[in-house]
Each structure stands twice: as C-alpha cells, then as structure tokens.
C-alpha cells in the first residue's frame, strides 16, 4: 500500500455488500484501504459494471470485477473489466499505469 501512497493514489474498493460487511472484511484481512458500500447498486450502475445476471442466490445487484483509474480531476483514464474472474490486474501493473497519469 505504501507504493500506492507514494504514487499519490487512493485505493478504494466498492461492492454492494452492506457497510458492516465492509468493516468485517477490512478487519479480517487487515486492509489498509476503505471498503465502501453501494447497497443500492447505484454506483455500480453508474459505472456500468453491474453483473447482468445479478447475484445467483437472490438476484440482487452485484458488481462484476472491474478496476478504474481516475486522475486528479476525477476522469477515468484507464479501466479493466477482466474477462476471467480469476485474472485481475496486478498491483504492479496498476502502479505502472498510475505513474503515467498526470
């Protein structure tokens, strides 16, 4: 995480889980970045990353795995919507991309 701080970047994770769940995840995994909640799915929808099939258990909105990089002005400069849920962008790749953002 220090590398991300040094790169002048803030990391945030978002899911449609309730806020309590985010807290549990942060504590259980010792995360150093906030896990934010989007229980209504509004943010997931606004970014266009809702999983079209929804939660297979209750049909509720869930996000597909996706990573966005925003510049200082809040513009999306890069995004990754993996086609395989096992394979996500790695930290070193994201750090490399961050370095190229003005």
């Amino acid at each position: 995480m220090a590398e991300f701080r040094d790169a002048g970047a803030t990391v945030v994770a978002v899911s449609t889980d309730p806020p309590e769940r985010g807290r549990e995840v942060v504590e259980a995994l010792g995360l150093e970045f906030p896990v934010l909640a989007d229980p209504s799915g509004a943010a997931v929808a606004a970014f266009g990353v809702a999983h079209p099939e929804g939660n297979p258990i209750d049909g509720g909105t869930i996000a597909r795995p996706a990573t966005f990089l925003l510049d200082r002005d809040g513009r999306v400069v890069w995004r990754d919507l993996t086609e395989n849920w096992r394979v996500r962008p790695r930290p070193d790749e994201i750090l490399q991309r961050l370095a190229s953002i003005p």
Partner: protein
Amino acid sequence: MRGMASRPRNHLLWIGPVLTFVGVWSYFTVAVRWPALRDGAWLNVAIAGLGIALAALGTVRAFTRGSRVPVRLLGTLGLAVSILFGGFLGAYVFVLSYGLPPPSGVSTGLAAAPDVELLDADGRPFRLASLRGTRVVLVFYRGHW
C-alpha cells in the same frame, strides 16, 4: 500362484489420486495467493495431470500384472476420482472462470467519472468526488455472499 511378497507393490495406485488431489486442492488454498500461480494455473494443472497419468499407469499395471480383484477395483476407482477432481480444476480454470458476460454500457476513453455516493464502514455517506485532487484506484468486486 505367486505370493504377495514376490510382487512389487503398486504405489502408483495411491500416489496418482493423492497427487491429483494435492494439485486441485492447492490451487484453491495456496496458488490463489500468488498471482503468478493463480492466473495461469499451469503448475496446478500440471500436478493434477501428472496425478491422473500416474493413477492411470498404476491401474493399467494392476490389470496387466494380474493383481487381485479388489486392487484392480480400487485402482479403477482411484483413477475415476482423479479424473473427476482434475476435470473439475480444468473446467474451472479454462471454462467456468471465463463465465463473465461481456461488458456493456461502460464508457470508454477519457470521461468524467460519475459522482456517486457510497457508504463507509460506519455507514456514513462517502462521495467519490471527495477524492478529487488525488489519483484513485477504484476497484469493484462482487462482495462476499
């Protein structure tokens, strides 16, 4: 009839299935922690494949060497279980995990990120726009359910 002692023990009958199990099990418990092992999954697929091959070899030996019927049955069962386990890993790695639908409605290029309101761990509102002035790595994930 030859005695048991004169016949070499067919260790492949248990090594094969055990190796297959180790290959599959360690993918989900060990390899997932290491991106290099997780993304390609080749090491675990290779271990499981080797396990299936050894189980098959052991089973063939059990039949060609005229092992007793229970040994042949156990060998065949071990091979079947190995193929099931290994097949599951193969299906997961090469088919199931590609099950994400194609993205739609995602803006491309340099566009302003929508200013959305989220909730922090204490349930307080958190506006994405409050992060203006810093670069943001925004990660969406499916959640824990």
